[in-house]
Symmetry: C2
Subunit: 356 residues, 2 copies
């Protein structure tokens, strides 16, 4: 039986992506070759890469606006390093918002490159909210934030107005909601939450921001090199890029970000509605800052844990345990999660209430 996969990442992808990518491993485009054994310079794969890059910009509404999209290796954690290498002046300064574990990881790496001004932090309350009311210094080389905090279930619903370039780690909510993406200087995202399998990351860059730091950047860490080589500076992660491409095609066929945003709102409303209605449960993030991707919640009475855990497992639900630093439960309801699966979880919660 196919599971209802609420895993935080790697995570659920559309069923057609599984089927098409498995087929491509046996025979890619009728070529007599597997997608795993073809040259990344082959005509068919170059087309995949080019189309994936164009599709990413198209879905974000950034086509023709001076942006480049790259699918590069290393994971979003490598972008923690690439960003200061590419944007922070020698002896420069960057502003960072500390809204969770990954934001904090990005800050740690940036400090190895220069001055980091942490403009605000929600660490004081275990990152259960998104900080507000901070000021971004006008002389910062860039402002870095994390749009969605996978572990804590919080999400930025507004972004600061600033003249400083905004760099955003959107690993766990890229392509999930309508935003004016042209307000960002760099957007990056590991594929494995809302875009594809683990092994590639998307980086979307306003090209005019590059080449200004005076740093001697190692080639593979230099966005300009990747742009010049059209995301083929070195061998790309062929299969992860292909599966991401299939996922972006699926998204386009669903009606793009506008349509998926509506569906994601529906799923979040359904589950948060039950969390707030059902006396056995409570949300763990501040209500105004709740994430529509990672819905974190707790049992009011831990005595129900064993029963609840057994019930959702019997219902075919997988990956619902909260991160060890938060506890409780986390339902990750990424783009590919059907509303029917969320309903299965809600029904289990209602059933627990009846039994309790």
């Amino acid at each position: 039986m196919k599971k209802h996969n609420f895993s935080a990442g790697p995570s659920i992808l559309p069923q057609e992506v599984f089927e098409k990518s498995a087929q491509a491993i046996l025979d890619f485009n009728g070529s007599g070759l597997s997608i795993l054994e073809i040259s990344h310079r082959s005509k068919d794969f170059v087309a995949v890469m080019d189309e994936a890059r164009a599709l990413a910009l198209e879905l974000l509404g950034l086509t023709g606006k001076g942006y480049q999209a790259l699918f590069i290796s290393g994971g979003a954690s490598l972008e923690f390093i690439r960003v200061p290498y590419n944007l922070m002046q020698e002896n420069g300064k960057a502003a960072y918002l500390d809204s969770g574990t990954w934001a904090s990881g990005a800050i740690k790496e940036a400090k190895k490159f220069g001055t980091v001004d942490v403009v605000a932090s929600s660490k004081d309350e275990n990152y259960t909210y998104i900080p507000e009311g901070y000021t971004i210094p006008a002389d910062a080389d860039y402002f870095h934030c994390t749009s969605n905090n996978t572990i804590f279930g919080t999400q930025m619903h507004d972004f600061p107005e600033t003249n400083v370039p905004v760099v955003c780690d959107m690993s766990s909510d890229i392509f999930s909601r309508e935003l004016d993406f042209s307000k960002f200087g760099i957007i990056y995202a590991g594929a494995q939450k809302n875009m594809g399998p683990a092994g590639t990351a998307l980086v979307v860059i306003k090209e005019e921001l590059l080449g200004k730091t005076g740093r001697n950047i190692p080639s593979l860490l230099d966005y300009q090199q990747h742009i010049a080589k059209e995301s083929m500076y070195n061998t790309p992660a062929v299969f992860p890029v292909y599966a991401s491409y299939l996922t972006l095609q699926w998204l386009k066929n669903q009606g793009g970000i506008k349509a998926i945003d509506a569906k994601n709102n529906q799923k979040a409303a359904l589950l948060y509605g039950e969390i707030d209605r059902n006396p056995l449960f409570k949300g763990s993030a501040k209500t105004e800052d709740r994430s529509k991707m990672n819905i974190t919640f707790l049992l009011n009475n831990e005595a129900h844990t064993e029963t609840f855990d057994k019930m959702w497992k019997v219902a075919g639900i997988s990956g619902l345990n909260g991160h060890r630093s938060v506890g409780g439960y986390r339902a990750s309801v990424y783009n590919a999660m059907p509303v029917e699966s969320v309903q299965v979880l809600v029904d289990v919660m209602k059933e627990l209430e009846k039994q309790a």
Copy 2:
């Protein structure tokens, strides 16, 4: 019809790897989940990673000898950067052998970190041979070489005796031949030639060499961080690691490196024998330095090009064109290439001779 895939990389893998990995995309280990959607922290994938790391050391004869094996992201090109970060002292010096395009790329990156002593180069003759008779300075922090030059079809058959740690890029001949691997300080290899699909790299490290540079290393570039987190510092490239694991299992079942070495010798002897016998062809690398992985050759008379190209394509051969910087032909005969496919190519070469 399944092609005879002589591509230089990404390249042929065992058929059972295609079949098992396609199946895992539809359902991994009977879990009701795809390998593309499971958590990298799930018990089943942690087992894959642990077994893949152990198997790599076992196949190389390095178990219990102070080495660690990592499957990390970024590609071998990222190791060009990680190696100096981890082994070159601040204001230190490293020795590099320039035997081809990738060696030269590694040198370019190392120069951004300190002094690079290029002990010898074969660039003068377009890298058609492996330099000899050089001296490695005793005060170098390490000596870097490339064991096999994919583009030019040359291979190091001996390695220098030195007290300096030897770092070797084995991207295109890892697991292909018997060597005393304990002579190396670091061995690294992009997966996509002899070990798996594109998207992960294997790094094998003598652990005692680390932690001595005095550098403030970005976390993702620090081998000690990856070792401490058992190759899960950040989300690994789950599927590429899994497919690499299947390939290493296949290799073990074939009889390990000893058995594959004999098979690789047989394939190389068959094809080089024909190149040397057939008056229409000549090898393009110096005879003593010929690679057993990438067999480069030329037509003596380019007038036969069109006929030959048509003949091998009709025979179901793919990926035989030489790299643009060398021209002619390149037959990459990695571990998974059956001797029968090499025979198909040899038969075409004989048939051309008859017709010419």
